[in-house]
């Protein structure tokens, strides 16, 4: 891309050749130079310069790699380009970019370097190489502060990739000319090295002023431009404030004045500028025609820039809506709607200005949120917390191993106990009751005991089944022996079948009592009908209430039977009062583990389901939530009250909290906001609409839909920010409290 040669023709800026180098060309008519002075600024080979830019207001940055004068007295320079991050945003992806980072063009292609008229140079630029390459001496703090831009990465124009490797020749430019060179003799005549801000300091004040003037010669930036330029300018302003010793020019005074005020007030002060300034500003704001671009530019060179500083802390973000993607750009469409790039024409209305700035903000906040995402993502990986929890768990368990061993052994013994008791005292329903009560009463873990939550005895189902069968077999002869005749026996056989069927599934002790009673009745010769009724009734109620048990058992047995969906069961459970919501769990817990915890702590069977995280869930180590459905309302209430009164600490150093979940409205299709349609058209295109709705697409930036989508994106990123901040605060509170826990 070459800049127009018109730059500088309307006004003859002061120019002087400096040091001569070789002679070239076919007839030796081309004279190469090493240094020159242009409009009061000294340039030398390998300096970084700002280049004029017709449409955009953000200047290009390039490195002078060749300077010469042709036979017909035309002055030319060859520029090796740097890219702003905004120009390569499409290929940046998720990479993090410094506020004033630029990228060196590399590779082969037309975007790497160009020959331009010397007059297209707009000023000098201080670019510091911060590449971690071993050949590059790292810049000092001072150098970094004084730098306009930094670069450490290259952008390959052919492959459109970014890399931080520096080959020996980057795009044809020997790499030593890229790196920071340390001090060398600083006379103007000698070849100055690039990116050497130290060189500025020992020079005379005049040189300093020159370089600063050069730096000031940045064109005005539209308010919509990203914060990057704002920060660089802010820094420049403060810098010039520092060096404000020998300045006498008015513009310098202005700059000094400005540097005294905080950046936020820059805008206000801009209004109070001299009329010359505002005049030039208006010029700038009006259509930037190429012809007088340079004229105005040179006028405004000494004028302070109008900076719009975004109030929020968008320092880390480099987006600019004003520059386009590639160097060989086409004139951006000056569309009214949704033109997020290149909206700088004179048709700019205030509203349009807002829109690009909104885009900038969107990009800013999106980028910020992406950054935050990264941070959040690290938080979410939650390594330290969980690991700590695991480590903590280990000594705990080993310490309490003895007791745990005892209690778990106890647990194992119990079912066997039950079996023994039942086989010996089968015909006596009352004894069944006794043993049932024993089971419930004795299996409490003594307080103060840490016990590892082992999985519930997985074969309990099988054991129970055995119990039931034995029971049935045992009881059957009893009543029939005591009782009547064939009819009863037939009935018994039938009920026996029922029992067997239900015996396939685990039965709680309570129901064994019921069945036992039923058998007793029958056995003692009560009405056959009564017995059948009991049996049937028992069977039905059992089915109803033990459906969750069925779920567990079936999981264990790997039998697939379609079950009621969880949500349905939750709703029923809520109505019955058997639903409990647990919080403060470890999010990495699985549902099975939750069930184990409940079994371990309360000896209650339940089905649990961990609540799945969404994008707005808390990232903390105790943000796991689960719903459990218990068998009885009493059990649910007991658990809640116990968790409330006492304190069950989990391995994530948080006490388990149980609560009754609030009643949920059972709306199936919830209202969804945000999808708009025009009603009239909708009626007209009913059929087509259905098909149209099912297409999904990227929104293109040429219509109203895009703009609205952008507003949504903005809202989404804002909401992401809220949540992040919110959880951060919560995390702090949690941390503070937990720090006092002695439990280690």
């Amino acid at each position: 891309m070459s800049h127009s040669g018109e730059a500088g023709q309307n006004e003859n800026l002061e120019f002087k050749w400096g040091q001569k180098r070789t002679v070239g060309g076919k007839k030796g008519e081309v004279q190469f130079y090493g240094t020159f002075t242009y409009d009061g600024v000294d340039y030398s080979l390998y300096d970084c310069v700002y280049m004029h830019n017709e449409e955009e207001t953000e200047p290009y940055i390039g490195k002078l790699i060749k300077i010469w004068e042709t036979a017909d007295k035309k002055r030319k320079v060859k520029i090796h380009w740097f890219f702003h991050s905004s120009e390569i945003i499409n290929w940046l992806g998720d990479e993090e970019v410094h506020a004033n980072e630029i990228f060196l063009a590399s590779g082969e292609g037309s975007g790497v370097a160009n020959i331009c008229d010397l007059e297209a140079i707009a000023g000098k630029c201080n670019v510091v190489c911060i590449s971690k390459d071993s050949r590059n001496p790292q810049p000092s703090e001072q150098e970094l502060q004084m730098a306009d831009y930094v670069f450490s990465r290259t952008f390959d124009v052919r492959h459109c990739t970014i890399s931080d490797q520096m080959d020996d020749k980057v795009g044809g430019l020997a790499v030593k000319f890229l790196f920071v060179k340390k001090e060398e003799p600083l006379e103007f005549k000698t070849e100055r090295t690039e990116g050497n801000p130290n060189g500025l300091v020992p020079r005379g004040s005049e040189d300093v002023k020159d370089s600063l003037v050069g730096r000031k010669s940045l064109p005005d930036v539209k308010p919509a431009c990203g914060a990057a330029l704002a920060t660089t300018s802010g820094r420049q302003v403060s810098l010039s404030g520092d060096k404000a010793t020998t300045y006498g020019t008015e513009s310098d005074k202005n700059e000094m004045k400005r540097s005294k005020l905080p950046a936020d007030h820059v805008e206000a002060e801009d209004k109070g500028k001299s009329s010359q300034d505002s005049g030039a500003l208006e010029n700038k704001a009006s259509k930037n025609s190429t012809a007088d671009g340079s004229v105005k530019f040179s006028e405004s060179r000494n004028i302070n820039r109008k900076i719009a500083v975004n109030g929020n802390d968008a320092k880390a973000l480099v987006t600019s809506t004003t520059s386009t993607e590639k160097k060989p750009k086409t004139v951006p469409a000056k569309d009214f709607l949704g033109s997020d790039k290149g909206v700088k024409s004179a048709k700019d209305t205030g509203a349009l200005d807002d829109r690009p700035s909104k885009k900038a903000r969107v990009d800013c906040s999106v980028k910020l949120s992406e950054n935050n995402n990264d941070i959040g993502g690290q938080k979410l990986s939650r390594n330290s917390d969980r690991n700590k929890g695991k480590e903590l768990a280990a000594p705990l368990t080993s310490g309490g191993a003895l007791k745990a061993g005892v209690s778990s052994h106890w647990l194992d013994k119990d079912p066997k106990q039950k079996t023994d008791e039942k086989t010996t005292k089968l015909s006596n329903g009352k004894l069944l009751k006794v043993s049932a009560r024993n089971c419930q009463g004795e299996n409490r873990i003594p307080e103060g005991d840490t016990s590892e939550v082992t999985p519930k005895p997985a074969d309990r189902g099988g054991v129970r089944r055995l119990v039931v069968v034995v029971l049935v077999v045992g009881i059957l002869p009893g009543p029939s022996m005591a009782g009547s005749g064939l009819l009863n026996n037939v009935f018994f056989a039938a009920s026996f079948g029922v029992f067997l069927f239900s015996g396939l599934l685990p039965i709680s002790p309570l129901w064994m009592v019921v069945f036992g009673a039923c058998w007793l009745c029958c056995g003692l010769g009560a009405e056959v009908v009564w017995g059948a009724a009991w049996g049937g009734f028992g069977g039905c109620r059992y089915n109803h209430l033990s459906s969750n048990n069925r779920l567990q058992h079936l999981e264990v047995e790997n039998i697939y039977i379609p079950m009621k969906p969880w949500e349905q069961r939750m709703i029923t459970a809520q109505e019955q009062g058997t639903l409990v919501q647990l919080s403060n769990l470890d999010p990495a817990c699985t549902s099975k583990q939750v069930e184990d915890i409940i079994w371990h702590a309360f000896k209650e069977n339940c089905t649990a389901k961990m609540v799945q995280h969404t994008a707005i869930s808390s990232p903390h180590s105790a943000s796991g939530q689960a719903f459990i459905i218990l068998k009885t309302r009493g059990a649910a209430e007991r658990i809640i009250t116990e968790l409330d009164d006492r304190c069950l600490m989990l391995s994530n150093r948080s006490p388990l909290v149980g609560s009754v979940p609030p009643p949920r409205s059972v709306q199936k299709k919830s209202a969804f906001v945000g999808h708009l349609s025009i009603d009239i058209i909708k009626h007209q295109m009913q059929r087509e609409w259905k098909e149209a709705l099912s297409t999904s697409h990227y929104s293109q930036p040429n219509n109203m839909e895009y703009e609205m989508a952008m507003e949504w994106c903005l809202l989404q990123s804002r909401s992401k920010l809220w949540w992040n901040k919110f959880y951060k605060i919560q995390g702090e509170e949690l941390r503070k409290l937990k720090a006092n826990l002695k439990l280690k």
């Binding site: 919080s583 999010p587 990495a588 969404t614 304190c647 391995s651 006490p655 969804f672 099912s694």
Partner: protein
């Protein structure tokens, strides 16, 4: 499950997680086939899993886990959709896409090597009071979170309403213009004032 198998299981799960993207801000009318066709534009979709919403208000937009073929594809998707708004099933609210996390999945295998412990604290234990405070804090946090969620929903509603109004107003304007052009009013007015561009 022996530990080697558990580890393998877990590793396979992790791999699945990497391949999956989490999609948010979906209309509740969206179903699996719509999502599949939407994401098939980018690559093969292996599975679509809806994340049910039990704990929160039922007014929240739906979320979904879409499992793709490869983690690179998933990452690409996330990046692309973060930069450009992607519409599914309706305009103009775009979906929000981010990388999936393990906790989002319904059936997670247990992390191998982890143990859960629980311990009943005695009231004399000095940690007891702290634990009580923690419990209270948890409750408060939950309330705050649901409040924030409410707020977010309100904001979304506001935006949607505002956009709807703008859209309607604009549409009316366009309609008006079109009508005027179509029925010749523009032409006649133009003649009256000497502007002849409407002769078409």
């Amino acid at each position: 499950m022996d530990s080697a198998k558990a580890k393998a299981n877990y590793a396979a799960f992790e791999e699945r997680v990497r391949r999956t993207v989490y999609v948010d801000n979906l209309s509740p009318q969206v179903n699996e086939s719509i999502l599949k066709s939407a994401f098939n534009q980018f690559g093969n979709v292996q599975k679509v899993e809806f994340i049910p919403n039990y704990a929160e208000e039922s007014n929240m937009p739906c979320c979904v886990l879409v499992e793709m073929d490869s983690p690179e594809l998933a990452k690409e998707l996330v990046q692309a959709m973060s930069n450009q708004p992607f519409m599914v099933f309706g305009m103009p609210r775009p979906v929000r896409v981010c990388a999936a996390e393990m906790e989002m999945f319904e059936h997670r295998p247990q992390k191998p090597g982890t143990k859960i412990t629980c311990l009943w604290l005695e009231p004399q234990n000095p940690d007891f009071t702290i634990a009580e405070k923690l419990k209270e804090l948890t409750r408060r946090h939950a309330a705050e979170a649901s409040f924030l969620l409410q707020y977010q929903l309100e904001e979304e509603e506001k935006l949607a309403k505002q956009q709807a109004e703008t859209l309607e107003a604009n549409y009316k304007k366009y309609e008006l213009i079109e009508k005027v052009l179509k029925d010749g009013t523009a032409k006649r007015l133009g003649h009256r004032y000497g502007i002849n561009e409407f002769d078409a």
